[in-house]
Symmetry: D2
Subunit: 288 residues, 4 copies
């Protein structure tokens, strides 16, 4: 766009759109004053598991439930998700608790399956440069969370978003989830500097996933606070009614009462940077 | 394999198959005494370009021509390849010079298109953990070059190969192509230690791509020698009749006379580690 | 400590001391409820420069002034600091504004020179494994800021602290200042996860240097907030009365009014995590 | 050098000296046709250990013995070397087998102790940016091996050499010893591309240390071959008469017969790149 463009990306650039974009999913608006906390289990495992997770999300004032139905796993022998059955369960949880739902898609098939079943799709770190998938999501017009690849530069990440937007889909939320470094103490190194950089370079909302970034339960709380303080528009957090029995990522999942405590502690931090969290949903749920 | 397996991969493990596998593609055998030099342009650009590249490969004693028809590019605005037209040109070059051909596939569509048109497919670094593509290539039974992801551990790389082999396809050649590090002097850091490690952990052949690893023309020669000395079963090298005008990766491509000189210098190195290069094809081509 | 110790460090370990240590320097206490903001220029350049910086620190409620007298520089041709003259100017600023002062020491000579001139010394990232220097600082008994090496694991960092403490010096404040990664957008990658990890493994206070970590002025504000939200006991910030004319690190230095604004914005963040900043010093200075 | 210099280093640059420097130490010449193999134990442990190592070096045609007397160790509780006693033993071994000796120095004290006792000093990776030590070695005029820091860019490494040369000492041999990356399979990642890059940018000789780079005994052989094939002027190899009982780095040390076999296999590789190894010293030793 234009002869003076020096950046390799254009549509996602702040030079293209001087105001910050907002992305609306269900009742959640990314990019506004309210910090969106997306929570849920790594993988949908059972009706009971997803319903109790959804209840916790709703009670805490969350507007989005996450849950994996199609899981990309490093090993062919690991649990690969419940697929369509998982989508059905997400759908039931969504209706019961008036939550929007987001799930990861990994190929053309899972995108087609998820398209009408969920409100928002997620492209995972490993697929950030799966250009065919980026184009398909671009054409689908679905709101999408685009995770940063685990060794992707910020520029490559924005170019991946450009692929989606070049197909006409502007409903993009970027998600920092840790990069690969030499440090063995955490699964990845959460690069929070990416938040203000993305805010400077693009008009897109950006959220942070401290669960995948650190891989350590005890770090979720301080890193969630840090993410909000750095200016993030939201968080993506793994919770599980019984983390010890989780089929994946148990070690980094909060149980439901840890999650409730976290949300309580995040409110003053959001306020300190002139943002706010969604109101707790106790009353409404109590009315059901 | 079996209950005592401690490694997360099984089929690709040396514990599963005590002898080294060989992979036969056209007249080339990977994993034997002969070091296979695959060469060709980053992208097929024109009939003249691919035919003159193919001639250089054949003259130098090579048995495999590479050429990209479907290009995965970081930017949606970069040249994306000639697609089917590229495959046709590869096919013509293949027949004229009796070379097997290898091309990168990036999704279900390009795999279907390439399946009957080429002898071997390649899964690029960015798709190393595109698990759906790994499974499709596994089912296709095509010989495949599996490049290491640019921030993949060796274990993750072998697990990606396991995905292919778990679908019944044993025709896998691993390819080290550099990993992402802090060093800015080269595009990536060529990790040659991966060669003997892979040889210790698996029965699969492993080759090296010094062109993508370094991104610098002058380094191709010394790094090719080093790769063979480290025990690599082959090389993957970018050449172009006119690198200055290449549509991609010109800065790292050898011109045809540099390539000829390289092959000449590689012969004694291969011999020094008790391997050999294919015999120069002058006579035969001269007879045409 | 003792036979069951599995960690390679002992004295610095939380298993050795169950309560958090505090380190007192002048009127500042690291490791308590008050977040300590250390600020000042990269290098002491002139009387005017250091005095106006010191005034800004005092007005903002800071208790510690930093300033480099002995500069370790990558190139032998870069400005290497004013040495003893720099220490004298720091001393003058210290007295005039009732601030404690901290300066980097780089060898036996600079340590001897600084010992009586400053309140606290700093071991920089490049010297984190200069074991001789660690021992000398250990013997000196001076309060010390120990920066994390730019490619040091957290374990190596704690072992470096162990070297100091093994000589009998417990006055150690750890400082995270960014690690080296592949990402080119920032000078280093600020690893804020290190803060809660250090808090879990050791009893020592830990502060964060967002200036060196990011190398970008605009990132100091959000990353300072994030650091405090993550649980850091303090910050180390580069300020300069005239960053455009700074002899080193101008691009990452705040000017004095940006610094004042930063402190104002940090107060509610500290409060949100149940900490506080030092009270602004206007009245007292006004009385001089 | 001069106003047109764009590189931050000058004296070490090839633009400063168009021909390659050679560094003579005892009977060894670095930077010529002969590849210099420096070998010996990580640390001098006993008279018997260093003498039998020295014998193996001499028999294999080596001209330089290495052995650590002052050891920089990550933990204050690890073996720190025999200091002066170690230097004495090195000296005895040197005389008996007519070998030059090289040892690591870590501070002013060890440099003073080593200066008259050894032929060449080594600055280790952790001290590559210990600028005071660089200057002291520069002033000493001693031939020096300057190891690359484990997260140093090539440019920073050359600037460290510039510090030494700026003090008038041109007897510098650079040594690539692996860089820190995300890959856990090896201790560090050997960056062999650094060899031809250094050859292009500077006039200084460059050698490779596959022992520290990989940390794995089985990789020494293939990586030594690769290093020579890439153009290295020499190797630095850890050997030990009884690696299982070594006080440090046993897992990466070759025993003496493995070392003998290595040298045998390296000769044809050196010849393949138009270099050669020193002649085996059997006859001469037999005459003693």
């Amino acid at each position: 766009m234009g002869v003076t463009a020096k950046k390799p990306y254009q549509l996602v650039s702040k030079e293209n759109l001087k105001v910050y974009s907002t992305v609306k999913v269900g009742q959640a608006i990314f990019g506004g004053e309210e910090v969106q906390i997306i929570a849920g289990p790594c993988a949908v495992e059972s009706r009971e598991q997803i319903l109790s997770s959804a209840a916790a999300v709703a009670i805490a004032g969350g507007k989005l439930l996450r849950g994996g139905a199609f899981k990309p796993r490093s090993s062919p022998y690991s649990f690969q998700g419940l697929a369509e059955k998982g989508l059905e369960l997400l759908n039931e949880a969504s209706k019961r608790y008036s939550l929007a739902v987001v799930t990861e898609i990994i190929d053309e098939y899972s995108l087609a399956a998820a398209k009408d079943a969920v409100d928002m799709v997620q492209i995972g770190a490993r697929n950030m440069q799966n250009f065919n998938l980026l184009k398909l999501v671009g054409k689908s017009g679905k709101p999408v969370i685009l995770k940063r690849g685990l060794s992707s530069t910020i520029e490559e990440w924005l170019l991946a978003a450009e692929y989606i937007m070049a197909e006409g889909n502007c409903q993009i939320v970027l998600c920092e989830r840790g990069i690969r470094t030499f440090e063995p103490a955490t699964r990845n190194t959460l690069d929070l500097s990416a938040v203000p950089i993305v805010k400077e370079l693009t008009h897109l909302p950006v959220i942070v996933d401290p669960s995948h970034a650190t891989g350590i339960r005890n770090l979720i709380n301080p890193m969630s606070k840090a993410a909000i303080a750095s200016g993030a528009d939201g968080l993506l957090i793994e919770i599980h009614p019984n983390p010890e029995k989780a089929l994946c990522d148990g070690a980094q999942s909060l149980n439901l009462s840890q999650y409730e405590q976290l949300i309580k502690e995040l409110r003053p931090v959001a306020n300190a940077v002139e943002k706010r969290l969604g109101k707790p949903g106790m009353t409404k749920l109590g009315g059901n």
